[in-house]
Amino acid sequence: MTAKRASATSPTIWTVLKWTVAILAAVIAVFPVWWMINVVFSEPGQPVSINPRLWPTSLTAGLQTVHVIFAETAYLHAYMVSVCYSVLTIAGVLLFGSAAAFEFALFDFPGRRIIFGIVMLALMVPTAVTIIPTYLLTADLGWLNSMQGLVVPGLASAFGLFMLVQFMRAIPADMIEAARLDGASHLQIYWHVVLPLCRNAMVTLAILTFMQTWGNYMWPLLVGTSPDMYTVGQIVGMFNSPLSHQTVEVVMTANLLAAVPPLIFYLLFQRKIVEGIAMSGTKG
C-alpha cells in the first residue's frame, strides 16, 4: 500500500524507501557475521559485550587467538578432517556423477529411462528416511569413525546427477558424432569432449557440494564419534556447548574459522554459486 501511494505521489519517496529497506536488510543479513569478526579482533580485556562498538580494534589479538586455538585444541585436526571429507566427496560426486550423466544425457541404451527415473525419484525422498538405515549399514561395514564411512555413502548424489544431465543435454549430438568420426573412443569422448564442455557445470557442482559437505552436521555427528574423526561442525558444537569453558573470544574465533573457507569460496565464485542455485530452481 505504501508503495502505491509513494509511486503515485512522488518517485523520490519511493526511491528513499527502496534504499532504506535495502540497506536495512543488508545490515540484518551481514551484521551477525560482522559482529563475529568484531568480537574476534577486539583488544583483549575489552569484550564487545561490555564495551559495544562497530569495528574491530586489534588484528593481532585475533590472530593470537587463532594461534592459540590451532596450537592448543584439536581444531586444526578437525579442519583437516573436514577438508578431506569435502575434497574426497567433491571428487567422487564429480567423477561418478559426470560418468553417469554422460550416459543418461547423451546416449540411449535399454533401461536408460527407467533407471534415470528411479534416481530422480530419490530427489524427493527425505534424508530422514535413509539416514538411520544408512548409518546401520555403514556400521555393519565397519566404517564408523573412518574417512570412507564419512565420504562413500554420500557419493551417489542424485542432485549432482540431475544438474549435470541438465547441462549435458544441451551438448549437440553432432559434437559427439563428430568425435566418433574422429576416431575417439567412448572414454575419449567423455574425457576430451564432454568433460571440458561441462567445466562450468562441474565447477558449480563442486562449489555447491563443498558448501553442503562443509556445512553437514548430522552425518559426521553419527559416523565420526571418536575425537580424531571430529569435523569442524562438531568441534564448533563443542566450543559452543554449555559445558565448554572457553572464553567468548575463543568461541567466536572457532566459529569464524569454520566460516572462512565457504566465505572465501563465496567471494571468489559468487557468480557461479548464484547461477548454480538459480539453475536448479528454475529448471527443476
Binding site: D174, A178, L181, G183, L197
Partner: protein, 371 residues
C-alpha cells in the same frame, strides 16, 4: 564394380520408413549431391555411409569391401556437419588435429598435415583461435580442415552451407568445387537447395520421402525428369502444371483438353491410349504472354488466366497468373511494358510440354516421342 556402392539400403525408425530400398553407385572422384526436401532422409543416408547409424537391411561398400560392421572412424570417410560441430574448448588447430591425436599420430606428422590443410583452406593465421573467435565462413573452413587431415576416401557434407548468409554461400560453393578439383576425391554433398545442387553436382540424386526419385546430371534432370516430383523440385521458379484430359490418342500423338485452354491440343507424344487424366508440365521460361491482338502460333499450347501479381526483378519478370479453375501459373517474361491485372493469354511451344500420369510418372510415349 563401382567405388562406392549402396545396395538396397532401407532404414526405419520405429514404424516410420525413412529410407526405402536405396541403390546407388558412385564412381571415384565424383561430386554427387543428394537433394530433396527436408525430412526426406538425406542425412540418414549419409549417416549410413559414414557408419553413424546402421541400415535395417542392405549394404554399403567402398572399394568392394562391405562397410556395415566397420567402425565409423575406420571407413575412410570424413563428414562435415551443418552445425560444424567444432569443439568450442579447443583452438582451430586442436579441432583439426583431434582425430589424428586420437589415433596417436606422431606430432611432426600432425603438424605437417594440419599445415597442409590450413594452406589449402587459407586458415594459416587462424589456427590458434577458438571457434567463437571465428566467423561463420571460417568455422566452415575449419570443419572442412578437420575432414581433410584425415585424408579420407570419401568426403561427406551435410548441408554445410545452410548456416551462412547468401553471399558467403555462393563464395563457399565455388571454394568447395575448387577443393574437389584440387583434392580429386569422391565427395557426397547433401542439400535441400536445388540451386546449390544444380551448380555443384556432377551427378545429383533426388530423394523424396525416403525413396530415390532420379539420378543423373543436373541438366538431364532439368530437361528430362522421370516424374512429377523431380520436374517440380528441380528448377526455379518451379514448373507449372495444368490438369488435362485425354480425348484422343494414337501411336504418334495425343489430343487433350486442359485447364484454361480453349480447344483440344495435340501433343507429339504417342501411345497413350487408355490414359484419361494427365498433367501437362511447362517451365515458366517456356511460356510467353501474347500481346493484345496477337494470335497464338498454330498447334501451340494456349490458355487464358488472370494476373495476380508481378515480380519485377530487373533481368527477369515473373508474372503470377491464376486460371479459372484456380491453377497457379508463373510466366517468365523479359523486361517489357508493364502488365496490369487483367486477363492475359499465354502460349508455349508443344515441344516443351511434358506429360505426367495421375500417379506422377512421366509419360514419355511408347515411340520415344516425348523427348
Amino acid at each position: 564394380m563401382a567405388f562406392l556402392e549402396i545396395s538396397s539400403v532401407s532404414k526405419s525408425f520405429g514404424a516410420v520408413k525413412v529410407l526405402d530400398d536405396i541403390t546407388l553407385e558412385i564412381e571415384r572422384g565424383e561430386f554427387v549431391v543428394f537433394v530433396g526436401p527436408s525430412g526426406c532422409g538425406k542425412s540418414t543416408l549419409l549417416r549410413m555411409i559414414t557408419g553413424l547409424d546402421s541400415p535395417n537391411s542392405g549394404t554399403v561398400s567402398i572399394e568392394g569391401k562391405v562397410m556395415n560392421d566397420i567402425e565409423p572412424a575406420k571407413r575412410g570417410t570424413a563428414m562435415v556437419f551443418q552445425s560444424y560441430a567444432l569443439y568450442p574448448h579447443m583452438s582451430a588447430y586442436d579441432n583439426v588435429s583431434f582425430g589424428l591425436r586420437m589415433a596417436h599420430t606422431a606430432k611432426t606428422l600432425i603438424r605437417q598435415r594440419v599445415d597442409a590443410a590450413a594452406a589449402i583452406l587459407r586458415l594459416d593465421k587462424l589456427l590458434h583461435r577458438r571457434p567463437r573467435e571465428l566467423s561463420g565462413g571460417q568455422k566452415q573452413r575449419v570443419a572442412i580442415g578437420r575432414a581433410i587431415v584425415r585424408e579420407p576416401r570419401v568426403f561427406l557434407f551435410d548441408e554445410p552451407l545452410s548456416n551462412l548468409d547468401a553471399e558467403l554461400r555462393v563464395q563457399m560453393r565455388a571454394e568447395l568445387i575448387e577443393l574437389h578439383r584440387r583434392l580429386d576425391v569422391t565427395m557426397i554433398y547433401v542439400t535441400h537447395d536445388q540451386i546449390e545442387a544444380m551448380t555443384m553436382a556432377d551427378r545429383m540424386v533426388v530423394l523424396n520421402a525416403g525413396r530415390m526419385q532420379q539420378v543423373g546430371r543436373p541438366l538431364d534432370l532439368y530437361d528430362d525428369p522421370d516424374n512429377r516430383f523431380v520436374a517440380g523440385f528441380v528448377g526455379s521458379p518451379r514448373m507449372n502444371f495444368l490438369a488435362g484430359e485425354v480425348v484422343g490418342a494414337d501411336a504418334t500423338s495425343t489430343r487433350l483438353l486442359h485447364a484454361g485452354g480453349t480447344g483440344p491440343l495435340t501433343l507429339p507424344i504417342g501411345g497413350l491410349q487408355g490414359q484419361l487424366k494427365v498433367e501437362i508440365g511447362v517451365r515458366p521460361d517456356h511460356l510467353r504472354i501474347l500481346a493484345d491482338g496477337e494470335d497464338p502460333p498454330p498447334a501451340a499450347i494456349a490458355f487464358t488466366g488472370r494476373v495476380t501479381f508481378v515480380e519485377e526483378l530487373g533481368n527477369v519478370t515473373y508474372v503470377h497468373i491464376v486460371l479459372d479453375d484456380g491453377t497457379p501459373i508463373v510466366v517468365g517474361a523479359g523486361r517489357g511494358p508493364r502488365i496490369g491485372t487483367d486477363d492475359v493469354r499465354i502460349t508455349a511451344p508443344v515441344g516443351h510440354a511434358l506429360l505426367f500420369a495421375q500417379d506422377g510418372c512421366r509419360l514419355r510415349g511408347r515411340n520415344g516421342t516425348g523427348k
